[in-house]
Symmetry: D2
Subunit: 380 residues, 4 copies
């Protein structure tokens, strides 16, 4: 019976508290479960600033990453590509130094790095955990990589299928990469760079036992490239670290304890992505009751920020399940269970096999997982 | 160096997993902390269906409430106002029966009720936890309320300042309401109905020891009245219940263990809203370090879906704080701490007093609370 | 130098004007260009109410459609399927009558219809522009369709690949449909129903010269099935009518002047979708200048609410174009033009061929169109 | 009857066209009507880059402004405040030069300027349309302003109530400002800077016949300070110019043909804001019919991106109107007209007076306007 829209009291009383007045400087946590014994840190190991061809002052990289819920970033300006140098003289360590200051204020970890920027082969490689980037500014890329390794750097190959260097968009492995591997100067590959996924790189990481990375390679202010307020976000490398520290990230990278979270796709080794999937979910109604050919709902809460897509392969004589189910991030979804016959009865444990189609353990191979719950069948 | 937007691989590989294809039937949990010893249940005790002047079939009320993260609703169709009855013959208990069926499938609690719909005084009153609503369909409202009470109902006064009955929008107390109180036929008042807040009703609940309620009084499909995807939501009564059951809700209502969550305003007794506020927050950086006149950030995570607005009253000889701070729902905010002098040193426990301006413990009286953290002062 | 966030004045002064206080009852126009000589009306010819198995009172269908920018809807409750009839006695014309009243208040056209709901063949068929739906409530579907035709109805086949009737999801044509065609009792087919596209139906409409339809078949309140505030919307049939009237819609339907707008896909005959595409766009910078191997931007404004996806097939000795371009709804996009050589000069008219991949003129055949602009080449 | 969610065909067929894949580089036009004889250009005359204390490379300022639908920006780095100069040597004209290059590519006008950054009085002043900013780098601010004026600059006072210079947040006029006025070295004032409105400055512009300005004073990447995807936007100065050119903007500024668009507030002289308001609206149903005490709706389309808030002062013996109405940007709103008596008849022209509460022609004085339409009264 309340059809009048009585705004006046509302405005007087609620006016000052509305969250859209102005704008908040705030961090949106990016929820991904930890693994047993490890923290899951959200990292971006490839970012640029005005100190090479990026467009922001370095402290902005820390500010952006903090707001997006990241734990760590590497600043990786190009050594060789210095288009701003007439205005801003080359100083290879400065962008890291500036970003680190803001990172400390925000308790965001900032890692010193550089992008060694050469034609293919070997293409572009990032060296992170550097001690002095200026010493990488040498004519021969072999010398640059050797120096990086001497400094203890973790080195990975960037965007191996980048169209400027691989016109068909497919990553290609060169003898030079074999040499780098042999000399312990190549430890990982970007399986995802920006919005590109390289299935070849994915396969190589598995074959050659390399670390998988997923980075933004951001040059612009992040808001120009990602619609952050609409759920779009930069790709991140998930690092499974013993603690929240630079040393722990470095140890995990060399130990290949990483996964890729890009768009809504999670990519990684089965041992890493399976517990993330399993720990993301809670079955809120572990026991449901189906009457005859009626239906019941199993409620599944996804506490992570990764939406999951399930495809079921169920052959059950008594119960019918949907072919697919989506589990949106932070939401409770309904898995519908229907009885196939009017006269069945008894209690059953259902262990439902599903492919998680947005979680890849190999190129074209989704994670296979199970959902388990009890069904009580009651005659109609 | 990645300036090309290489969409093709992305689309082929990520195309099937995007969450905006189609639409998900999902529940968005409404996060409000529990109180010590009590669950915080989110309830709407005033809803209509086609069985009076509402616009939806009753099962939709359960579906909507489940999706919005509610725990319980009452179906409270008008007894006297039956504009659809030529098409849909009056049947006072049917809307509850239909809604309950869908509520059971979704594990949402559905409470039987009716709106006794009279001119002022006494105006409109909801009786919930009824046994048989048809017995309230009597000429004299005194008989209807007596019957409701005989059935054990919890009875509350709806929208006491409704402009159709109180043209100035102010709630007015009549002798009839005193009589109802004396006869144990009035247990609570709607402090908020739809988008209207009645400060007079708020004061009466405190003076007369009545239960505070906040309900939607929804007639339309909810999506026509609330921009749910933009963070707008219906008002709810928070019920502090010993367990998730109808009996526990009823017990809590009679025991006045409720609060109002409407818009971004939380209204209730100090003993109820204070622990909600305190349990919503985590100080992520309980120890910060301020160098000279520099600044440090205390990071405060708000794990609830209630955004808080703080106003500080700080007089500290060594440290300066902002005048205001907003703590958006589900986010981490920064409380900036600045040193006032270059030469101070030592460790300090700061207990910062704030008014939580969107949490009211009386009309015009915000909750006063404290944030506590350590500051180490280091000379510049 | 403005680092302080001075909220106080802002709130006092801007507080009352913020558009997110409360909620607005408003219509969002759905912008689709008119065709030469015809208005483009946005219509949904398949909706349900509580008078069959729908979930809303009929006036809500008019309210929802008005808000979504539609021009006309048909109310098409099931004749045979009356699950609410114990509570709400069958009355086949009532839902139309109620909806029409609200439609008149909002100047939204409401068309009387019914869904003839039979097993396959012939499946479900909608008859709209009925005079008296009760006369369709007969045992034999042949009689029902003959009666509808006697009343002058426009008749179309609903969701021809509906999985409950076609388990593989593929539409299948039966001899019964040939008979209906022969008897002038089948004038169109739903190429899209809800979120399903039926390529077979699309092909049949072209082969057999039938009217293409795209309807929501909505049962729930619309907000439960479409995330309207996030850009999601119901499918609509675009009707190219001589004026905004029921008669004009009827005339256009029989004359097959329709197209399908579903999701972000526009489907129709070349003669209809080509002018929509062309009239949606304005080239804001029809003359650009390219210096040597530099680049220039052609700015293209899309004034419609249909986002277009272009794929270019350009072989130009002097100029390079992107492979793809998206033209978001209501936005200006940039078509990048690059010079291939440093020394070219002169003025050129470029007529760039593109496939509009989200506009289909046949199943799997996108619209081919052209963008025309001038380029002045200047040596580097 | 379509209860199954059949995703498979949808995904296969619609998968590639969804607009949320990836991210579009696009301009969102900011719709504000032109005035008779003048274009309404959306301008921001106060922006910073890394060349003073801003955080972005200058071309980003042009890119951001283009995307937000602006027509022109001024780059106004601080002369005296050069915190980055150890890394980036001072070069007062460079930020403009770099931004202009990108502006030309996007057809966005870029104006050279500087912020003369002094303590109060006179505080901070922007000089725009400079020829050589380096000549403003002199010890005495009087010399700097004289030099700016010699170069033909348009000069305005920034954030006159900035709390760092006016701790109570109120703008204060000093004798120095009188001197500047007398010497033709002060032509306008920022009535809005960032999110702050200065009512004193508003009043001064009217009293002293100065140009009103509204600027962002942006230092960060715009996306860090404004939630652009949620409808939040930077303040802009509306300039009523004879054509889209730098000269025309300069002429309009000196001629005081500007208004302020900030948040959802429009501020300006009656002669400027009245036609903006009037040209924003179209009454879609200029004739409505009211039967007895029934109601009718006048549909009002707001084609601008400015939401309007109306408060009505209607005293009509026959008709009742709402007290308030909001006209959301780009939407159609309903003005409800109700009959006061059952027996009235005849046709009436209604000229309804309203205050447009978010459009200010003086501090605390809203624009008064009229809505005109015909009502036909029909007896019940």
């Amino acid at each position: 019976m309340r059809r009048l829209l009585c705004l006046s009291l509302l405005l007087l009383n609620f006016g000052l508290t509305h969250p859209s007045h102005g704008h908040d400087r705030a961090r949106a946590p990016l929820r991904v479960p930890d693994l047993p014994g490890f923290l899951t840190l959200k990292c971006d190991f490839h970012t640029h600033t005005v100190f090479s061809d990026g467009k922001v002052w370095p402290d902005i990289r820390a500010e952006e990453a903090w707001r997006e819920g990241l734990d760590a970033i590497a600043i990786t300006d190009h050594i060789e590509h210095q288009p701003h140098k007439k205005d801003l003289p080359t100083a290879h360590n400065r962008s890291y130094q500036i970003a680190r200051g803001h990172g400390e204020a925000l308790q965001l970890l900032v890692i010193p790095g550089s992008e060694i920027t050469r034609s293919m082969p070997p293409g572009h490689l990032n060296a992170i955990f550097l001690k002095d980037a200026t010493r990488l500014d040498v004519p021969d890329w072999r010398d640059a990589l050797a120096e990086a390794r001497r400094q203890g750097a973790f080195i990975f190959w960037n965007h191996p299928g980048w169209r400027a260097q691989q016109p068909d968009g497919r990553a290609r492995w060169y003898p030079e990469h074999d040499q780098l591997l042999a000399q312990d100067q190549l430890h990982g590959i970007e399986v995802v760079n920006e919005r590109d996924y390289y299935p070849e790189a994915h396969a190589w990481c598995l074959e050659k036992n390399l670390t998988m990375l997923s980075n933004s390679d951001i040059h612009n202010p992040i808001g120009l490239d990602y619609d952050l307020h609409l759920g779009d976000r930069r790709p991140v490398t998930l690092v499974f670290a013993r603690e929240r520290s630079l040393d722990a990230i470095r140890e995990a990278l060399f130990a290949r304890r990483t996964a890729v979270l890009a768009g809504h796709r999670l990519i990684g080794r089965d041992e890493h992505v399976r517990p993330i999937f399993e720990r993301s979910l809670r079955i809120l109604t572990p026991q449901v009751r189906v009457r005859g050919t009626g239906r019941a709902y199993v409620q599944i809460q996804n506490d992570s920020d990764i939406p999951y897509e399930l495809r079921f392969r169920a052959e059950d004589p008594d119960l019918a399940f949907p072919g697919e189910l989506r589990l949106p991030a932070g939401r409770v979804a309904l898995l519908e269970v229907r009885g196939r016959a009017a006269d069945r009865q008894g209690q059953r444990t259902v262990r439902l096999t599903c492919e998680v189609t947005n979680v890849l353990i190999r190129p074209d191979t989704p994670l296979t997982a199970h959902l388990e719950f009890q069904v009580t069948l009651v005659p109609q």
